[in-house]
């Protein structure tokens, strides 16, 4: 457009139309280019977020607009035992899965970083749990943890490790362990592939130099690989923590928050209160309670990443 505008003016020496002249101004052009993004972000992120905040300070229910009630909803949920369990569960779920996903993902990444036959195929294969829609794979897992049809029970029984059925999803602790296992299974590929990409930016000569310098394999990992991989690790952990903290699908499909509300997370409990029971404002308050925590996590990790990168 700009080129044709220039050639037009030079040829005809007539002033360009008003609209084109406006676009020649960088400030206007910048604004025009930004509009689609602003509209999208505004419609789908800023507006729902603001509505959420407004909703949380009312007594709105399904079909009833409700009145302004201040922080009553927050007061109510902080005194709610199930909410407190959900908070505890969310931290436990995020903490345990992140540690395992990082450890297993790093281990896988280091294995995949070696040279072996069928390397490209294996790398693609590893991504499968990440590619399959979460709901579908979680249904498969639910079947595997089913008290009657559990393939896990069948295996353990045939290896002689158990004598009776294990009620995976019926016991509060086992249910928590089950959803943690599914989350780890689903999250490891993301860690493995991202960390593998990070590992590949580290020159193999650094490890060779360290080997000649007298560093044993674990010393090479600790002194060379780990510090050089740290910026990538931090970004991956950041993404994973945010996603896991707000996880919904796995718990909703596997346990629905049960047994007896033992496995609720922020997201599933907010859903149950807001949609399940119709207490929209209370659900909004639960969902919003996640925000300050996640915000803090993001700030801390971004600051840390910046410090690592400046080094």
């Amino acid at each position: 457009m700009a080129i044709s505008a220039v050639s037009d003016t030079t040829l005809r020496e007539a002033p360009p139309p008003r609209r084109q002249r406006l676009l020649e101004d960088e400030r206007w052009l910048a604004f025009v280019l930004l509009v689609p993004t602003i509209v999208l972000l505004g419609m789908f992120i800023a507006y729902p977020f603001m509505r959420g905040i407004l909703l949380s300070v009312t007594s709105s229910r399904v079909g009833i607009p409700g009145d302004f009630v201040g922080l009553a909803n927050f007061y109510k949920i902080f005194n709610d035992g199930i909410f407190r369990t959900s908070v505890y569960n969310t931290f436990l779920y995020t903490g345990v899965t992140t540690v395992f996903k990082l450890a297993l993902g790093l281990w896988l990444a280091m294995l995949l970083n070696r040279n072996f036959r069928g390397k490209a195929f294996t790398r693609a294969f590893i991504l499968l749990p990440f590619i399959i829609p979460t709901v579908l794979s979680t249904f498969a897992w639910k079947w595997m943890f089913d008290p009657t049809f559990s393939v896990l029970n069948w295996l353990l029984y045939h290896f002689g490790l158990i004598t009776g059925r294990i009620n995976w999803l019926g016991d509060p602790d086992l249910a928590m362990i089950s959803i943690i296992i599914v989350n780890i299974w689903r999250g490891v590929p993301f860690f493995a592939i991202s960390l593998l990409a990070g590992l590949q930016t580290i020159s193999p000569e650094l490890n060779e130099a360290a080997a000649i310098d007298g560093a044993k394999p674990w010393q090479r990992f600790w002194h060379i690989t780990w510090p050089l991989l740290l910026p990538v690790t931090m970004v991956v952990v950041l993404f994973s923590v945010i996603q896991t903290f707000a996880d919904f699908q796995i718990v909703y499909v596997m346990t629905g928050g049960g047994p007896a509300n033992a496995t609720h997370l922020f997201a599933t409990y907010a859903y149950q209160i807001a949609i399940g029971t119709g207490l929209l404002s209370e659900g909004a308050a639960i969902a919003l309670a996640m925000f300050p925590i996640l915000f803090l996590v993001v700030i801390i990790q971004l600051l840390y990443i910046r410090r690592v990168e400046v080094r």
Binding site: E205, E208, I212
Partner: protein
């Protein structure tokens, strides 16, 4: 001590025979250079000595002990890599101290050695910096320093100067030579640059396609190349070659092809007695050709047409056509030569090389 012996070393990569039956004795305190075109197996050989690459067959021993099964760290060697391989997250000091820390040296000793090496290399004021903040030449020095502090038995260099610009490379070359004279540690140095090989090496190993072509002192390679490859690889500009047929006329031997006819000097003729009627490869270096004067009438001579004149300041390179043959001569900078001139050139008889046309081995 630092004597390295390679015995019948072979290396296969996925069925490719990268290094073939290499036998070498590298003496204590010697500066040995491996030179050859890329893919000739020189770096692979060096990496096998370092222990970074497994040996397919053969033995490598350092000071009489076979080190085949030893990890790099247990071989008492230090290596300088082509792209320096400095640890980017460590300061210059920590880079140099890393090897000593891993070997559990006491802190005062580490300090002493690092400062000493920094002093030798003139990088004392850079110790707190990170590799990223250094120029190419400075990084090179840090990489050298990391090798020096360990006081190893053998230094291994993998094309350490190839990432530097031309001027810095010459400067670092001189410094490396001085450093070797000062430390007296055995050094094995890989390069594809024949000038580096000639100037640095006490002895030079020329390799091609995984095979050692010749081992010798630089001037030995230059004066008595073992085959056509070594003759063409060592020396710049490269040696001129021409395939000629040997014939006998009036008791003396004549070498000729279309456009070239030379009466061979006695010494060369002696060696070619058995090749009468056959083709051989004649070789003569550009610097052994002179514009023939009246005093040169009894030297082997030929006529040439000048095609390109390259003024280098210290010499003039003449690209010329001798019948069907293309040749290069290096002549005095004072010579007045123009494109299209027809000149008569003389060869220094003792500097004529002959090679078997098939095997390319020197005759």
């Amino acid at each position: 001590m630092g004597q390295v012996v390679l015995k019948e070393i072979n290396k296969f990569f996925d069925g490719v025979h990268a290094v073939k039956d290499v036998n070498l004795q590298i003496r204590d305190k010697e500066f040995m250079v491996f030179v050859g075109p890329s893919g000739c197996g020189k770096t692979t050989t060096l990496r096998m000595i370092a222990g970074l690459e497994a040996i397919s067959s053969g033995d490598i021993s350092i000071d009489g002990n076979v080190v085949n099964g030893l990890a790099p760290m247990d071989r008492d060697i230090a290596m300088v890599f082509q792209n320096y391989a400095l640890y980017p997250h460590m300061s210059v000091y920590d880079n140099m101290a890393f090897g000593l820390k891993m070997r559990k040296f006491e802190k005062p000793e580490i300090d002493k050695r690092v400062l000493e090496a920094a002093d030798i290399l003139g990088i004392g004021d850079l110790l707190k910096r990170r590799p990223r903040q250094l120029s190419g030449g400075q990084r090179q020095r840090v990489a050298l320093g990391r090798a020096i502090v360990r006081h190893p038995r053998v230094f291994l260099f993998d094309e350490p100067l190839s990432n530097l610009d031309a001027k810095l490379r010459v400067q670092m070359r001189v410094e490396l030579k001085k450093l070797h004279l000062r430390l007296g540690t055995t050094a094995i140095y890989v390069t594809h640059d024949q000038v580096e090989a000639m100037t640095l090496g006490d002895r030079v190993v020329v390799m091609k396609d995984g095979v050692v072509q010749q081992v010798g002192e630089p001037l030995e390679l230059y004066n008595q190349p073992a085959n056509k490859f070594v003759a063409g690889f060592i020396g710049s500009p490269a040696m001129n070659f021409a395939v000629v047929t040997v014939t006998e006329a009036n008791g003396s031997l004549i070498a000729e092809n279309s456009g070239l006819r030379i009466k061979l000097p006695d010494e060369t003729a002696q060696r070619l007695r058995g090749h009468i009627g056959r083709e051989v490869m004649l070789g003569v270096r550009p610097e052994d050709l002179t514009v023939a004067g009246s005093a040169d009438l009894d030297l082997p001579c030929f006529d040439a047409v000048i095609e390109v004149v390259e003024q280098l300041g210290s010499e003039i390179l003449l690209d010329m056509k001798v019948g069907e043959n293309i040749m290069v001569a290096s002549v005095e900078p004072t010579a007045r030569v123009r494109v299209g001139d027809k000149l008569r050139f003389a060869m220094r008889p003792s500097r004529l090389h002959v090679f078997n046309a098939q095997t390319e081995a020197a005759i």
